[in-house]
Symmetry: C2
Subunit: 343 residues, 2 copies
C-alpha cells in the first residue's frame, strides 16, 4: 500500500467507455491524496503529459494489443516529470525523468519505469521526437519500410508527431518525401519548415491525382498512419516491391461501424508488403535510435513542433482534438511548470 499525505494529486480517470468519438463526459477529474514514497520509491511531479492516438484503443474494451484502462482508473500516458522526493539511491530531488505516469499530477513507483534525461535537448522531446513517437517513425520507416536513396516515401499524418519525423528521416536517407495532411497551413509547414518535397491536403485535393503529381516515380514506401481514403489512393500508385509499414489508422479509431477497406489486388500485382507494427515490440532499437537521432535534433536537422495545452483539465479536450485533426504538432499537456519556482 502506498503511503499518502493530506496534499492532493489531481487525476483524470476513465469514467465511461466512449461510443464513437470520446466526449468530455467520458473522463472524470478527481482530487486524490498525493502519494508519499516509501523506502526504495521515488515521488515525482508531472511536467509534460503526451497525448497520442493509441489512447483511444485503451479507452475501449475491444481486443487490442494492450489491455484497456479499467473504468475508474487513471488514464495512461507517457510523461516527463521532476523528482520531488526520493528514497531510492539512483534518484534525487530535482532529477528530470521520463516515465509512464499517466494523467495525474504526481506519481510514485520503485523507479524501474523511469529513465533520467540529460540536459542537451529540451526535456519535452523525451516524449516526442526523442521518445515513443520519434522511435515509431524510426523503426517503422527504416526497419520495416527500408527506404533506398532515390525512392519515394509517402507519409500520412505528415504534420503530426510521427509523420513529421518520418518525412525528415526519409529526406536524410536520400528519398523523395511526400506528406499527406489535413490543412493548407499544415501542408505549408511540412514543405517549408520540415523540408518535405511535397504535401497533399486530403481535405481539398483530389487524392489520386494530387498524389500522382507529387509522386511522378510512383510510391515505394507508404508509412500508414490514417487508413481510409488516403490508403486506397496510395494503393493505386504503388511501385513494384513497395513496402507499407502500418503504424496506425487514426481515421478509423472512432467509427462505430466496420469501415471495410480497400481492395488489395494492387499488393499482388506490385508484390507489395504491408506489415503492422507496434513500437513496443522494437525497444531493442532504442539505443540505436537515440544515437542517430539525438544529434540530428540537436543540430536542427530534424525539426519538431509541439502543440501544448496548459493544465491537466485540458487533456480530454486536447485528446479529442487529436482525432478531429485540431492539433498542429506533437500534442502535449503542460501539467506543471518546468521550473516550479516560476509556476
Amino acid at each position: 500500500m502506498t503511503v499518502t499525505t493530506t496534499e492532493t494529486n489531481r487525476q483524470i480517470r476513465l469514467k465511461k467507455r466512449p461510443v464513437g468519438m470520446p466526449a468530455p463526459g467520458d473522463f472524470e477529474a478527481v482530487a486524490s491524496p498525493r502519494p508519499a514514497p516509501r523506502d526504495g520509491e521515488v515521488l515525482r511531479r508531472t511536467i509534460y503529459l503526451s497525448l497520442d492516438p493509441y489512447m483511444r484503443g485503451r479507452m475501449s474494451d475491444a481486443a487490442s494489443y494492450a489491455n484497456p484502462v479499467n473504468l475508474g482508473d487513471v488514464m495512461v500516458g507517457h510523461t516527463v516529470s521532476q523528482v520531488v522526493d526520493s528514497r531510492h539511491p539512483n534518484f534525487r530531488a530535482g532529477d528530470i525523468v521520463t516515465g509512464y505516469d499517466g494523467w495525474q499530477e504526481y506519481a510514485v513507483s520503485d523507479g524501474k519505469d523511469l529513465r533520467k534525461l540529460d540536459s542537451s535537448v529540451p526535456i519535452s522531446t523525451a516524449i516526442g521526437v526523442l521518445g515513443m513517437p520519434g522511435m515509431t517513425a524510426y523503426v517503422g520507416l527504416l526497419d520495416i519500410g527500408q527506404p533506398k536513396p532515390g525512392e519515394t516515401v509517402v507519409v500520412s499524418g505528415a504534420s503530426g508527431a510521427v509523420g513529421s519525423i518520418v518525412g525528415q528521416l526519409a529526406k536524410i536517407k536520400g528519398c523523395r518525401a511526400v506528406g499527406v495532411a489535413g490543412s493548407a497551413e499544415k501542408c505549408r509547414h511540412v514543405v517549408d519548415e520540415l523540408g518535405f518535397d511535397a504535401c497533399v491536403n486530403y481535405k481539398t485535393d483530389d487524392l489520386v491525382n494530387a498524389l500522382r503529381d507529387a509522386c511522378p516515380k510512383g510510391i515505394d514506401v507508404y508509412f500508414e498512419n490514417v487508413g481510409g481514403a488516403v490508403f486506397a489512393a496510395v494503393l493505386r500508385l504503388l511501385n513494384k516491391f513497395a513496402r507499407i509499414p502500418l503504424c496506425g489508422m487514426i481515421s478509423e479509431y472512432n467509427v462505430t461501424q466496420n469501415p471495410g477497406g480497400p481492395n488489395l489486388r494492387p499488393l499482388l500485382v506490385h508484390r507489395a508488403m504491408i506489415r503492422g507494427f507496434i513500437v513496443s515490440d522494437h525497444y531493442d532499437r532504442f539505443p540505436a535510435f537515440l544515437q542517430e537521432v539525438v544529434p540530428l535534433v540537436r543540430d536542427g536537422r530534424i525539426k519538431y513542433r509541439e502543440d501544448i495545452v496548459d493544465g491537466l483539465d485540458a487533456a480530454p479536450w486536447a485528446l479529442i482534438g487529436l482525432f478531429e485533426g485540431r492539433n498542429f504538432g506533437k500534442a502535449l499537456v503542460r501539467v506543471s511548470p518546468e521550473d516550479p519556482g516560476t509556476g
Copy 2:
C-alpha cells in the same frame, strides 16, 4: 520468319477481351500452318497444357505484372511437349520437354525456353506439382510464410494445384494445416487423401466459426489464393506476428466492380504481414524446390490430383471451370497423347 509446312497446327487464340467471366466466344480456334524448324530450332508437339488462374489477367488489358495477350494471338500457357523434329544440338526427336508454348498443338523455337524432363516421375507433373504451381506453393509458404513447427497454416483453394501443395508442405514442416475449399467432396479429399488436419467448406459453413473450430490456436500463416469473404474471416483469427503470403485472389478476377476489401486493423493489432508475390520473381529457388520436392512426390509423401480434359478445343470451357470452381485438382488439357503410337 518461321518456315511452315502444309500440315496444320490447331491453335486457340484470344478473340475478345472478356467482360467479367470469360465466355467461349472470347476464344477462337484456328487451323494455322504447322511451323518447321530451321537451323538451331526445335519443333515439338504439345502433350499437356496447364490451365491456371493467372490466365484471366492475361486476357485483360488492365495493368498487371505481365503484358496481356494481344487480340488475335495464341493464348499463353505452360506445356509439356515431345520433340518431333530438331535442328538443335541439345535436343532430339522423342525428348520430352517443358516450355511455355501456349494453347496450340505445335510450337517451334531456339530451345532456350525448354527444359528436358527426366523420367522418374509422370511428365504431367512438370507443369503441376513439380512446376509453376508447386513452386508457387513452395516459395509462398516457406520463403514468405516462414511457418514454424506447431503453428497453424490456413490455405484457401485447398484442393487446387497450389493450395493442395501448401497444406502438404505445411504438414511436412510440422504445422497444423487447415484448408478452405468449395465442396464437401473437395474437403473430404483434402483431409482424407492429402492429410490436412481440417477443411472448411466456404459455401456451406459459417466461415468465422468454422475456422475458429478448425484453428483452436489461431492462425499464424494464411496462404491467400482467393480474396473476398475467406480473407475477411481469416483476419479475425490472426495470431500475433502472423504472415499472409498473397498469391492470388481468384474470387475477384472476374468482377466488373471493385469489390473493396476487408478492414486491415487486425494487421496492426496483431503486427501481421501481407506480402504479394509472383512466382516468376523467385526462380532462383527452383533448384532448391526440385531438390526438396521431387523426392517427396516420388515417395508419395506429397500427393497430387489432376483434372484432365481431352483436346485443345475443351480448353476454354475448362479455364472457365477454374473460375467457377468446377475443376477438382490441377487443371490440364491433354492436347495429344503421351505416346502418339497409341493416340
